[in-house]
Symmetry: C2
Subunit: 357 residues, 2 copies
């Protein structure tokens, strides 16, 4: 790669924040809705519809014309939806939720990425919200704007991904299952819903403060006898007596050493023959020249915006860690990047493993 090609790539990166927000702002201002509902419109008409000066409408829509999302007729001055006319509204709504999540939980916070990496804390939460020493997952409890943006997106993701996970794992009838970092019980309820069998019992393990809400969720689903809650800290000890351990949406939050510690704890809690099933985003095995957007997204997200540490690994890295911790990996599955929902980019993997003697 010549120096000029490299520096032109830097230039493309420099445009990233402006490009992201200009596109989102065209939606936030209602310009795209106005074009969808009213057909061709001049900048003056769009300005009237969105209560924005026509000069600003012209500036913002330049990018969308350049990209072919919107067409502009030079003679009439009218804008019309172009490629955006072909995008189903449901897809667009899903993508806009993701963009809003990135705006609210990342756009300003990444300014503090370097400090966050140095300190291992989310400096942006302190600077922007006065929220000290905690993670994004703590901060959503106190800050409705973070919570709204984050939870809406996560509910959407979980609804798509968890059924795929349960489709790809085997839970023996009547098994005693432990859902590690199971939050307020959704995973336990889903396990019964999707893998139910006579005698199946699922224990949600998470921080003690989740217990009341988890028990209430179990009750409201009529599962109070088939589910239970154990409070604790995943780094100090997991309850024994389970046949199957689930670890969903969790390992990517931690540095590799912490992942190893978690898997060691899981291993100690299981008898020989016990199984673990992991659901986690995975990086592609070959990074160089990959088209995976996860690589662009997750380091800044975990290090700068949510945890001050963490980030996904490659499937082969998780496999090696499992093997270090006394497991034989029996199955790995990864989503086909080409078959993700349009406009999403997180490639999830599943690793299933059995504790050996």
């Amino acid at each position: 790669m010549s120096a000029t090609v490299t520096l032109n790539r830097f230039t493309d990166f420099m445009a990233g924040p402006a490009r992201f927000m200009t596109l989102l702002s065209c939606f936030e201002l209602g310009l795209i809705d106005a074009l969808r509902q009213r057909g061709s419109q001049t900048a003056v008409q769009l300005g009237d519809a969105a209560d924005v000066r026509p000069a600003a409408v012209e500036q913002l829509l330049l990018l969308l014309v350049k990209e072919g999302f919107v067409a502009h007729d030079e003679t009439t001055g009218e804008y019309t939806l172009d490629a955006l006319a072909e995008v189903p509204e449901a897809d667009l709504r899903r993508v806009l939720l993701l963009m809003d999540m990135i705006k609210v939980t990342m756009l300003r916070q990444v300014f503090y990425l370097t400090d966050s990496v140095r300190t291992g804390t989310v400096v942006g939460l302190e600077k922007l919200y006065g929220f000290q020493g905690g993670t994004l997952y703590d901060a959503v409890a106190e800050h409705p704007d973070l919570r709204a943006s984050w939870a809406t997106l996560m509910d959407n993701v979980t609804a798509h991904i968890d059924p795929w996970f349960f489709d790809n794992i085997d839970i023996p009838p009547g098994a005693r299952v432990l859902d590690v970092a199971g939050n307020t019980g959704l995973g336990a309820i889903l396990t019964h819903k999707l893998k139910g069998s006579p005698g199946l019992h699922v224990t949600t393990f998470d921080l003690p403060e989740k217990e009341a809400e988890a028990l209430e969720n179990f009750r409201s689903h009529g599962l109070e006898r088939q589910c239970s809650f154990v409070g604790g800290d995943v780094f100090t000890g997991l309850p024994a007596g389970h046949d199957v351990v689930l670890i969903k949406h969790f390992l990517d939050m931690w540095d590799k050493d912490a992942v190893r510690a978690i898997l060691q704890g899981v291993s100690r809690s299981l008898e020989v023959g016990g199984q673990v099933h992991i659901l986690v985003p995975v990086y592609p095995e070959s990074v160089r020249d990959s088209t995976a957007v996860d690589i662009d997204f997750f380091p800044a997200f975990f290090l700068g915006c949510t945890m001050g540490q963490g980030g996904p690994q490659r499937s082969s890295t998780y496999r090696a860690l499992l093997e270090e911790c006394g497991f034989t990996v029996t199955r790995t599955v990864a989503q086909d990047p080409a078959r993700l929902l349009p406009g999403t980019f997180v490639v999830h993997g599943i690793l299933s493993a059995t504790k050996h003697a």
Copy 2:
């Protein structure tokens, strides 16, 4: 364009803020310097050098490996500069200044783009700095972080662009020149330095508070008799009695209606035959499928980060406005985008025009 192609393009936009800051953070943390100075290094060695956890080094460098900027040897675990080894340090320094300017003046501010567009003010300056009702150009006077980042960059740009401007315009010997929005006199001094002639006199026109510093600059260059300062507001009236008017780095700050008002004022201040020379960034004439990064950058920069209005126009738009205001355009020049300094993306244009009867 299919809906999937469109939404994948959205995905690329979503990665923009993270991608920008991850790259910059690798420089800020000193990871790239360490690789340049010490050759191949493992994540542990880089972590020691930069006082960063090796796990975070691995996460951040994934993007640079993906892009081919840095190479990673899977067997030794060592990182080495790849494409970045070919980039001259002076180019890299220039590009890092630009990235720092984008980080400090834009990255967080664009969060408020929609509100800024609606109100015509820079909402980010109020939210982030408690700075109300002013522009970035006002805010730099009070906030050293904004000033350092902004001024360093602008000095760099001016040093490259203004000589090109003066090379491409004609200033008759002994002319009386007015430098509109001439700030603290740098343009007047450059005019003498690059276009000096016996009897040449340049008047800097800007807000009255610039006068003292401008006069001091004239004195320190020994030009106190060949330069003068007139304080005023470009929208309420320009001083008459000049042969040539210069408008550099200014028209792009204003909405099109304001540009028209400025040019009407210039026209009123000139006799028939008087000339105006404009230096301004220009968008490409054909926007659709253009590769110009200006289009991605400037709307968010002016609307959301500096003025709450403005943005460049195409050269043909400036030409039409000049003609509306009683001028005949005699020459237009634009930088060749393919010949910009590597890693820069602003394409400047020059328009020269003569007031007709």
